[in-house]
Amino acid sequence: MSAVRAVWNVLVPPLIVGVLFVGTWEIIVRVFDIKPFLLPAPSSIWTTLGDNWSKVWDAMLITGANALVGLLFGVVCGVALSFVLMRFNVVNELVTPLAVALNAIPIIVLVPVFNNMFASTTEVPRRLMVTLIVSFIVLLNVAKGLRQVSATHMELLHSYAASPSEILRKARIPNAMSYLFTALKIAAPVAVITAFVSEYFGGSQNGLGYGITSNAAISRTAASWGYVVGACLLGLAFYLAAVLLERLASPSQRSTHHQPTNQQSTNQQARGLDPGGATA
């Protein structure tokens, strides 16, 4: 099964590095006798995590739900916007700088603003924040995929007297699919990070981010690190889900040893077709 193999390839090498990293960490903490409130040893984090697991698990579910809802809305918004951008060049020139500017506003600024806009007990501000970040990533990538159809493909389709909508269906959308999955692989872990970092800045008192700050504030450093482990697991789960989705959607292009036939020419020739220069 290629899907299983794909997950295996993604999972095993970082796991080895991770084990080495944690081992070194444990040794350093023991050898230099570092105080637990500064940096707890992995073993004590592990013990605390075991004691607190139901709390961490609940927090993972809350943050995960926020990340997932934001991710889905973000993908929908990003794809919809990229079609508008592809269709209207003027909009492209107007919106792209705006999107970049909007994305440059840090989470720390936007989340409190969103918190003021909505009731502080809802998860809406956090989900909105995730939606914003994700739609930006999806927008840039998918718009590029829709625009950068190889010159040879365009000439061929013109020689077949293909209409704009046929060009869209036969070339632009299929071409943009790989860009969409690339965007998804970037956006999935980013959605988790955005969701739990958003929890740092007010709103409901739940989720992984809240777990980290509230425990750190009362010097329960090991418990705090337990939530960090939860965040790592959640981010990993999101990323793997994105990889799995890509493999399932395009089994025919699974081989990483073969580049698509026209990849080089696409990159060379398509530059002239992309005045927007939407580069991720």
Partner: protein, 279 residues
């Protein structure tokens, strides 16, 4: 220069007084082609040869109506080039095979037929016929990247010929292939087009390729491109590996090469024919 002879053969392509300038009227105007008159008979295999940048690909794109001439007219099968494009009267192949990498080989061949509005069953049977023609019957379900460069180019030719167009336009289709594959592909192309009586316009920068394939070789001067010579080649309908050793083959190669040198001499360009291969 040969002129149209409507009583002997109908003209597949008539290019009449065509000039092409890019950025016309602006300071950076580039005259690509000047005063091109060319008549290609039905069933002809015509090669366009000339140095790099002489506008041979531009001429092909004008015939294909992918670009419009600055002045002059292009008729394809007695219709305007635009009407012929809309009617899909020609197939086209490029140096890049241009296969759609998300489609199987079979689905790639079916693409022009899909756009013609053919039904599924009709498309599938035609795709099988074309796969058989280019001897890739076992590869219909493969993805393009699983095929070698020569095989990909054969698929591109099958796709170009899928709707049985009377005219095939090719822009250096074998330019990216190695020499052995290239000679093999040339023989294949003659077999395929000979069987279907297809008219071919073939852009190349290889003299032996032009001579081996063509019934006529059209020699273009450096930019701005003009037709300086049209050389009739008659190596016979049955061309094989021995043809490449024949005296007539070498004689014609020499003739084309001298025509190219002559074309070079007509403008004050640098010496030597750039971008034309003797191999």
């Amino acid at each position: 220069m040969s002129s149209p002879e409507p009583h002997t053969a109908s003209a597949a392509v008539v290019v009449d007084g065509v000039s092409m300038a890019f950025n016309s009227g602006r300071p950076n105007q580039v005259d690509a082609l000047v005063g091109i008159d060319l008549s290609i008979h039905s069933g002809d295999f015509v090669s366009l040869i000339g140095p790099s940048g002489c506008g041979k690909s531009t001429l092909l794109r004008l015939i294909a109506d992918l670009i419009e001439p600055t002045s002059g007219t292009v008729l394809v099968n007695g219709k305007s080039a635009k009407q012929s494009r809309l009617d899909q009267d020609y197939g086209m192949a490029f140096q890049q095979s241009g296969l759609f990498e998300w489609r199987t080989v079979r689905k790639n061949i079916e693409l022009p037929l899909e756009l013609k509005g053919w039904g599924k069953a009709k498309r599938q049977s035609r795709a099988e016929e074309m796969l058989d023609l280019v001897q890739l019957s076992d590869f219909g379900s493969h993805m393009p990247w699983q095929l070698s460069g020569g095989m990909q180019q054969r698929v591109a030719i099958a796709r170009a010929l899928a709707s049985h167009p009377p005219l095939l336009l090719m822009d250096e289709p074998f330019g990216a292939l190695d020499e052995m594959t290239r000679e093999h592909m040339q023989a294949e192309l003659l077999r395929i087009c000979g069987a279907a009586q297809t008219t071919v316009v073939f852009v190349t920068h290889s003299i032996p390729e032009a001579v081996y394939l063509s019934s006529r070789v059209v020699v273009l001067s450096p930019r701005p491109g003009r037709i300086t010579d049209i050389i009739d080649v008659d190596l016979g309908a049955e061309r094989d590996e021995d043809t490449r050793e024949a005296d007539l083959f070498y004689k014609k190669i020499t003739e084309v090469r001298e025509a190219l040198r002559g074309a070079e001499g007509q403008t004050s360009g640098p010496t030597g024919v750039r971008g034309v291969e003797d191999r």
